[in-house]
Symmetry: C2
């Protein structure tokens, strides 16, 4: 734990700007007086791309390396062709900084509107692999745009990459009261990758005799997410399945407005990056309707990663208390940020 934090901030597009402002507000409020917070904003995203054609120039990638962590709002805009900013900026950061742990906790907070009847007790964390699978950009297209086109996408999986995320997931499961770890894949169809994942999962599991393990195909996992989400404690899965499952998890725990995430490189070789799971929501940008809670909870993950455990817990407790007292009347992005900043400071 350092006594200064040198933070890179990438507000990005749409509501990204608005929610990041609230995240910084709460971060400033929660930090002890003697911790020096330095921030540098990076102008990256749709506007930059329209202006200069750049997504993430080398100089900025290099500069980003020297921060302790990155706080990111949201990336993407309908005016930019799909994939340009996602691949050229967001995924480029995750890959360049080797964010192999994409950590996405899911908790049904009090008083939140889950679409599930009966309000099951949901409290699990998805450890999504962040640097492999179908996200590597391998693949291509032949005879593009013609009736004879062939397009491929290659999911690349390595024992190196799978073992490190599986090990991280066992560590997390082992440190939680229920000590349960579920592997989600589709090894009855994706037999090459699926069997490798399962073999490594079983092998590493021998080092964690206290962890109870389970395996589910991804299709079956979605069923349990809505019928029996309380069965999950820690889930480990590949990049694409993790993407799908964590949006579903956000939906059943009261919405994408509350879902936080960390793109973590536990080795410390590169800065880790924290961002809400939601997108840039251009339809509500500028209206003050965006819920900054997901970003503020991502700030808690950021603090925990940097060793500020007490401050992380203060934010999480504040969110919990704030949600418990919400009475359904509309509060603006700013008002929610103010309320949470007041709580963590008080």
């Amino acid at each position: 734990m350092s006594t200064s934090i040198n933070l890179a901030v990438i507000p990005g597009d749409g509501i990204g700007q608005e929610v990041v402002a609230q995240g910084l507000k709460v971060l400033t409020a929660v930090l002890p007086q003697d911790v020096k917070l330095e921030t540098r904003q990076y102008d990256l995203g749709a506007q930059r791309w329209h202006r200069t054609g750049e997504t993430l120039p080398d100089a900025e990638l290099e500069a980003l390396k020297h921060h302790d962590a990155i706080l990111l709002g949201a990336i993407g805009d309908p005016s930019v062709p799909s994939g340009v900013l996602e691949r050229g900026l967001l995924l480029k950061l995750r890959f360049a900084f080797d964010h192999f742990i994409n950590l996405r906790p899911s908790k049904l907070f009090p008083n939140t509107a889950t679409p599930l009847a009966g309000r099951p007790d949901i409290d699990f964390v998805v450890v999504r692999e962040g640097t492999e699978g179908p996200y590597t950009g391998n693949g291509g297209s032949l005879r593009t745009g013609t009736p004879a086109e062939v397009a491929t996408e290659v999911s690349v999986n390595t024992a190196y990459g799978v073992e490190r995320v599986v090990r991280d997931a066992y560590e997390r499961a082992n440190s939680r009261p229920r000590k349960k770890l579920t592997l989600v894949h589709k090894n009855n169809v994706l037999v090459y990758a699926g069997h490798m994942w399962k073999n490594i999962f079983d092998k590493v599991g021998q080092e964690y005799p206290e962890v109870t393990t389970d395996y589910l195909h991804v299709d079956a996992a979605t069923i349990f997410f809505v019928t029996q989400p309380e069965r999950f404690d820690v889930i480990v899965t590949d990049n694409l399945f993790g993407d799908i499952l964590t949006d579903l998890a956000a939906a059943v725990t009261g919405g994408i407005g509350l879902a936080a995430s960390g793109n973590i490189n536990p080795t410390g070789a590169f800065p880790s990056m924290f961002e809400p799971v939601h997108g840039s929501a251009p339809d509500i940008a500028g209206t003050g309707k965006a819920d900054p809670t997901a970003t503020i909870l991502s700030v808690a993950l950021l603090l925990r990663h940097l060793g500020y455990e007490a401050e992380a817990v203060r934010i999480e407790d504040a969110v919990c208390a704030d949600l418990a007292e919400r009475d359904g009347t509309f509060r603006s992005t700013d008002a929610i940020g103010d309320a949470l900043a007041a709580r963590v400071a008080g």
Copy 2:
């Protein structure tokens, strides 16, 4: 519409046997007296594999070609390594018979236990591509079992394959009252396949000016499945996304015990195959607890495919009426089959 049906029956594993028996019971009951039903059972699945090491020998594949349709129960058993029967039997049939339309309707029937609060009005159909995507078996594993292993899975997509399923989906959307078609993919990450899907979707759409179209990333689609499922009418998507979404659809519409499917080759070059979406459920095999309704609804899809529209509707109406009258007391597999057979005959 022929006056005889020459049906191949593959009961398969676990509860497959039990539910197929009920499907045949209802099929026999619903068919007009003058339609001759011939069935031939094929002994394929886990037991056959244990006995002979065979999954689907050429002779049987050849024989299956000469049926009007196939009714399949379920394939898979924990005693067989994951993937052996799925790839060697179930997917082999789908690929050999070019079942490019994997049709999976989802409807929230009265009186069924959806996990969703508020019982939204759900009535959509997923048109899942059945012969491409990550299901082709392309890929491999290098240095298998070592710390240097690399495993790949290749999603193969062709304009030929995508256009035919997209066109089928537009036809279906165009013939439904709401005329709405949603493409689900992940074209911000899987840019090669995703852009081809989207381009073909847009191009074919020009021929269907009355159909309203929408595009959703697969992760966002799972959110709407639980928060706003009434927004969907027809969905078209790739093989893997369709697999995931249809299990989730089954869960929100009252469970996998009600979800029917057809693996359809609309050209008629090969027999189409109808099966419940659920698996072989070895844990409840032989207990009489399996719900045969999904198989019976699959028989309705089979009849519709063969031109027996009135009979298909009779089955669907019977299921609807039966569910409306269920009072929560336990009924065995056999009892449900008897009740539905009585209704369609009466």
